[in-house]
Symmetry: C2
Subunit: 406 residues, 2 copies
């Protein structure tokens, strides 16, 4: 099993992609419409935002996935098509219809996603006008363009592929993703589109995606507070020709492993590229009484604005971490907790049994000044663990969100 | 009933206060030790942080309030005396003992509070050395000094008094308070100390304080996520000589009204002086199915970093408000929600039935550029309402929390 860092959704057999500037973003040089296409319809699954306010594309994509089949995904950035009423639903449907016609496939085999500003009517004509060229541009080299076209405030394009074997067959999973507003991903839409040539039943594909999402994207900053438009979609076209996976056998877990690997890698890329972020923060809570507690605790820390600003300032202000554990809602015993900061440079213990211990502040500062910082939390009250990823809170976060509008 | 804006804890009969620089704050010109004293012991009550990690003073103050009596409150800033283990508890106890001796009163009639950095041993000698002068300085003019001495990153001192009548007696409530880290008050300790010359049973005093805290301090940004050291204390010394309140009669509700008025005013002062804040945001959710839902919804909005940054940028990005309502955990119907922005300038409707409507962006910008901005949310699904207060999220919040350490 190995990661292919320069490949994306077109790495698996039979997948094509493209990206184009259709005019939803004002800047002419920025791509804003992406297409992913499989030469045969595949089994497909989706995981969606739990927000009560949902973007129009969420409704259309869910509807089109009732039969658990899909062949294409069309995605625009620059407008979320959310809080746009019936008009928004009609336009999301129209996007799928137009794209289906251009590719000569069934409308309900086209999935739709949008990301960008909320509450502004979608200019569907710009999309319609661009669909012919977008479709024509489809190629096995198109993943990078598609990755650029789904970006909003992201600074770095996110694509990745992973190869593994099932029996004598090589199977590939490819992906493009976007994140953004990272201080609580409450609005910065998180999108991830996965392709694979694996041959698997739609039920198991869906279950694997759901499981994998839980320990990857849902561990980026807080979850539950998901955006109106978040979604993770996967299409499996079966062209790897492996023996079809229809039960939870070794092959299934092989696949789940690879899926987890690519999703966790993308989740970390999303966290690291959080709005205004200068650092990736990984928070590991271990020796907790159970997994659920560990998860809530790790997210409470990763999501604390005061922890985030302290890390931004290279300040080993561990009291803020203890405080975030204390208000998490979990019934903790502060008097058993040890805290460590760690980076490529070194590891340093800063708190023992919930109390201050002597540590070298300068060393701590150096550790925290690295681009990847780990917060290790030993609960000493069990055997379970969880990890969450986030980023620091910088001036640029305020700048981006005080000024950015589309 | 009227507010006395230049008075504080020494406004009620028989109360004295003082403030001094004892050396816990490095800057010599900054006061860091405060004392409030009543010439007779009074009934007293406290409301404390729900954080599982609690500062040492919380334990000692709770212990000293078992008999529901108190005569003095000593408060230091510059060190929270939290995560300091048994040593911290001993020192909090010692603070009370020393102060009691100096005033020649009982140790358990002295309440203790601390605010500042976590996990650093408290230099108790500096406090002990300062207590004689601090006690000597007590005066009816000392409220302002005490208000300064409890500040950390607060920019504005917070004191207030309110006068009302019960029968033919004038009753006064006085207060000093501090806030600070306002983006979720998860660490910025919120302290409020109230004095009154009211004659009331300790049970009803406690109940009134608890009720009043719920609709005032607990509505500032999010609650539940309270700091390790938050507390609200009140001493009622009875010197107003009103007929003692021992049941929930009109007099009780008169008092509760005045208490609510002073606490809500202080809560708004705390929100407005949030770290880095340039504006006070008031979020009113109305026509909700019930009070609890309205409260959760209003806090979800007031606490969203993306709403806060939008208001900082004078950006009428109402989609972020709808999103915060959507992820609040409350089962809302987005299709009945109307949104308005309001300030002294004007009111503007920006969303109807969960959908975009036309509004003049320039007018909206002007409305949002005022120092006090209201977000009005008409749920059109019931008759209940709640209000929450918060502040915008600015560059200075990041600066203060990325750099501030004591």
């Amino acid at each position: 099993m190995y990661l292919l860092e320069n490949k994306g959704v077109t790495a698996p057999k039979g997948f094509y992609a493209s990206g184009i500037h259709c005019g939803l973003k004002k800047n002419n040089s920025k791509l804003d419409l992406a297409l992913i296409y499989s030469e045969v319809a595949g089994n497909a699954a989706g995981v969606y935002t739990k927000n009560k306010v949902k973007g129009a594309p969420i409704y259309i994509t869910k509807e089109h996935l009732i039969n658990k089949k899909a062949q294409a995904i069309i995605v625009n950035s620059g407008n979320a098509n959310t809080c746009t009423g019936d008009d928004g639903l009609l336009k999301a449907k129209e996007m799928a219809e137009f794209q289906a016609k251009a590719l000569n496939i069934k409308t309900d085999d086209v999935l739709v996603a949008s990301t960008g500003v909320i509450g502004v009517p979608l200019n569907i004509d710009k999309i319609k006008n661009a669909i012919p060229l977008l479709s024509k541009k489809l190629s096995t080299e198109g993943s990078e363009e598609a990755a650029y076209a789904i970006m909003t405030t992201d600074k770095i394009k996110k694509q990745l592929a992973i190869e593994f074997t099932i029996g004598d067959k090589t199977v590939t999973i490819g992906a493009i993703a976007k994140g953004s507003g990272m201080i609580e991903p409450n609005m910065g839409t998180m999108l991830s589109f996965l392709t694979t040539d694996l041959n698997i039943s739609s039920e198991l594909l869906e279950e694997a995606l759901r499981e994998s999402t839980k320990i990857s994207y849902n561990r980026v900053s807080v979850d539950g507070d998901t955006s109106t438009n978040d979604m993770v979609l996967i299409i499996a076209n079966g062209l790897a020709n492996n023996e079809k996976i229809v039960s939870k056998n070794n092959d299934y877990y092989n696949f789940l492993n690879a899926l987890n690997k690519i999703n966790v890698s993308l989740a970390k890329m999303i966290a690291r590229d959080g709005e205004g972020a200068t650092k990736l923060i990984e928070c590991i809570v271990y020796n907790a009484p159970n997994k659920e507690d560990a998860e809530v605790l790790s997210k409470s820390v990763i999501n604390s604005p005061l922890v985030k600003t302290a890390i931004f300032g290279n300040d080993a202000n561990w009291g803020r971490i203890l405080c975030a554990l204390g208000y998490s809602g979990i019934n903790i015993n502060p008097n058993t907790i040890d805290l460590y900061f760690k980076s490529e440079l070194a590891e340093i213990k800063v708190c023992e049994n919930g109390k201050a211990i002597f540590f070298d502040e300068l060393t701590a500062k150096k550790i925290l000044s690295k681009e990847e910082v780990k917060i290790l939390i030993d609960m000493k009250s069990g055997t379970e663990a969880a990890v969450a990823w986030g980023c620091d809170l910088s001036y640029d976060y305020v700048k981006i969100n005080g000024e950015y509008r589309s």
